[in-house]
């Protein structure tokens, strides 16, 4: 009992910290449909697994050496477990100075990230705060202005991106460095209605641009999960955001030095779904439903899509085959005809880097008509964004499998895998395979213009050439010359990929893992 008085004081101080910004501010926070920061953390992690660090940090006021007031630091963090695996987790306390950095005590945020890097575990950021400098009130407090720097955050952010999974949730109005903490991540989710992300909020926008806009229209889920691509996914509420974070992490290793965790499944690796035989319409211009197709191939209930509403012509999702996590890229003919446009290229690049960083084998389901064409696509810089995506393909070193479902045209179509002699991507095609540098329909006019224009009946002559070339379009002719290695029954796709994924993991198990050296930009 020697130290009992100190233990009593410790417990008393913890109680003060648990009061957050005080009853009134906490109630207001709850009334806005938000959980308090500790409740968020304990709800997200496994029961009783949260081990807080730095609970005693705060701004204390003393009178005659008696603690009379305590304002806890507005960043709460520590270690926890998700599905039994360690994570570092932290969140802003909006009830203390709006979660702004001027309410922080010590650099708990950087501490959390360093801890994650040292322990090689994921970083979970529950962001509900504003800028690094907090507010201009700081100027009054310190009696001067200051040159912005933010060394703590950037010291760890780049290392984290190539070493451990970084997930972020935007759970309130998030501006400045808070917005950066959401964006510099492998996976980000924004809570619909209560989460907004912006470089600066409405008052700053009004003063700087003379434009009044409310925070939801400025940086809500509609802006960032449906257009800008700043946030990968939107969540219907905070609990949904936590569930998405849990599911995302379930496919990833704890760090780039490890392999993604295998999960047992009762779905047979040799399952052959009849639907796959008819899923691609014979009429070339009729689209198919790509998400349905993917679900026929991967394990039941293992489909997790990232960035559904951004760059919609490309579908990027995580899934499992025979219990092994894989990263799947597919083209969606329902959006922009499935062509590779600027947002689609950006999404693809980040996803390939994610898979390569965390040792996830990649499956590319190809139905690629080519880069998007037209004035708007050129203005958006499609070829620049596109070649960056192709560079990512040639840079990545994880096992790669290509299934050509249908079209593979042009430079974008050629980029369905790394064709270097140093690689051997596993490649198969379906009988619906249709490929070339240029599509016959448009290509005929480009290649035979002079002959066509000189013909007595140009239109029927053009048709004649097209018909002649179409007879040569059968993918079996391509297979005769071994230009496509194999054409398979679509129903065999899952059994074949299930065997390939075993090989892929065997290769990864015997490889030297760890950061790839190219780094990873958000």
């Amino acid at each position: 009992m020697v130290w009992q008085p100190e233990i009593d004081e410790l417990n008393e101080r913890k109680k003060l910290a648990y009061k957050l910004g005080g009853e009134e501010r906490v109630q207001k926070h709850l009334d806005n449909g938000k959980l308090t920061v500790r409740d968020r953390i304990v709800t997200l992690v496994d029961e009783n697994s949260f081990q807080e660090r730095g609970v005693l940090a705060g701004k204390a006021t003393y009178e005659d050496n008696e603690l009379i007031n305590f304002r806890p630091s507005n960043y709460v963090m520590g270690l926890g477990k998700i599905d039994g695996r360690r994570v570092s987790i932290g969140g802003d306390d909006f009830t203390v100075r709006g979660g702004a950095a001027d309410g922080a005590v010590g650099d708990k945020k950087t501490h959390q990230e360093r801890m994650a890097l040292e322990l090689r575990i994921p970083i979970v950021r529950l962001v509900d705060g504003t800028g690094g400098g907090g507010s201009v009130k700081t100027i009054e407090d310190i009696g001067r202005t200051y040159l912005p720097g933010g060394p703590g955050f950037w010291e760890t952010a780049n290392d984290a991106m190539e070493q451990v999974p970084v997930v972020a949730a935007a759970m309130g109005s998030v501006a400045g460095i808070g917005a950066a903490r959401v964006a510099v991540s492998h996976f980000s989710v924004i809570v619909k209605g209560t989460g907004q992300v912006f470089t600066a909020g409405p008052p700053v926008v009004e003063r700087g641009l003379g434009m009044w806009v409310n925070k939801e229209d400025l940086g809500g889920a509609e802006i960032h999960a449906h257009g800008s691509g700043v946030c990968d996914n939107e969540a219907t509420d905070e609990l949904d955001a936590f569930e998405q974070i849990r599911v995302f992490l379930s496919y990833l290793p704890s760090s780039s030095w490890e392999l993604p965790p295998h999960e047992s499944t009762d779905d047979s690796p040799t399952r052959r779904d009849e639907e796959l035989l008819s899923i691609i319409p014979r009429e070339r211009r009729q689209p198919h439903i790509i998400r349905k197709l993917i679900k026929h191939i991967i394990d039941h209930d293992s489909f997790f899509e990232i960035g559904k509403f951004f760059g919609r012509s490309v579908v990027t999702c995580l899934g499992r085959i025979d219990g092994f996590p894989v990263a799947i890229i597919a083209n969606d003919p329902m959006a922009v005809g499935g062509s590779l446009d600027t947002p689609g290229s950006e999404k693809m690049l980040k996803f390939i880097d994610l898979a390569d960083t965390f040792n996830l084998p990649i499956i590319n389901l190809v139905d690629q008509p080519g880069f998007m064409i037209g004035v708007e696509a050129e203005k958006a810089g499609v070829i620049k964004a596109g070649v960056r995506a192709l560079q990512a393909i040639y840079q990545c070193s994880v096992p790669w499998a290509t299934v050509v479902l249908r079209r593979a045209y042009g430079v974008a179509g050629a980029g369905h895998q790394n064709h270097s002699n140093s690689r051997w991507p596993y490649r198969i095609a379906w009988p619906s395979g249709d490929w070339g540098s240029l599509p016959i329909e448009g290509g005929v006019m480009a290649a035979y213009r002079r002959d066509i224009e000189a013909a007595d009946d140009p239109e029927s002559y053009r048709q004649e050439i097209e018909d002649k070339l179409n007879l040569l379009r059968s993918p079996f002719r391509t297979a005769e010359s071994f230009n496509i290695e194999d054409i398979v029954d679509p129903r065999d796709t899952r059994p074949l990929l299930a065997e390939w994924v075993q090989d892929a993991y065997r290769v990864l198990r015997s490889s030297t893992l760890g950061p790839k050296g190219r780094g990873m930009r958000a």
Binding site: R285, V336, G337, P369, E376
Partner: protein, 70 residues
Amino acid sequence: MTEVKAEWPGVVSEVKVSLGDSVTEDQEVVILESMKMLTPILAPAAGTVSEIAVEQGQYVDEGTTLIKLD
């Protein structure tokens, strides 16, 4: 009022609704041929067709209003 817009450029292949029709959310209202693919354009919300702004065979830019719903 909801405007159904072309999300990418293309040629209107088919207008699948008529003036006064009531449509449900995600119903196919126009088929746009783009990159040689017949892509359905869906109603973002339920409503009654109050205006059809395009006709079959017409080229439309990205962002063009195709149909208005009340």
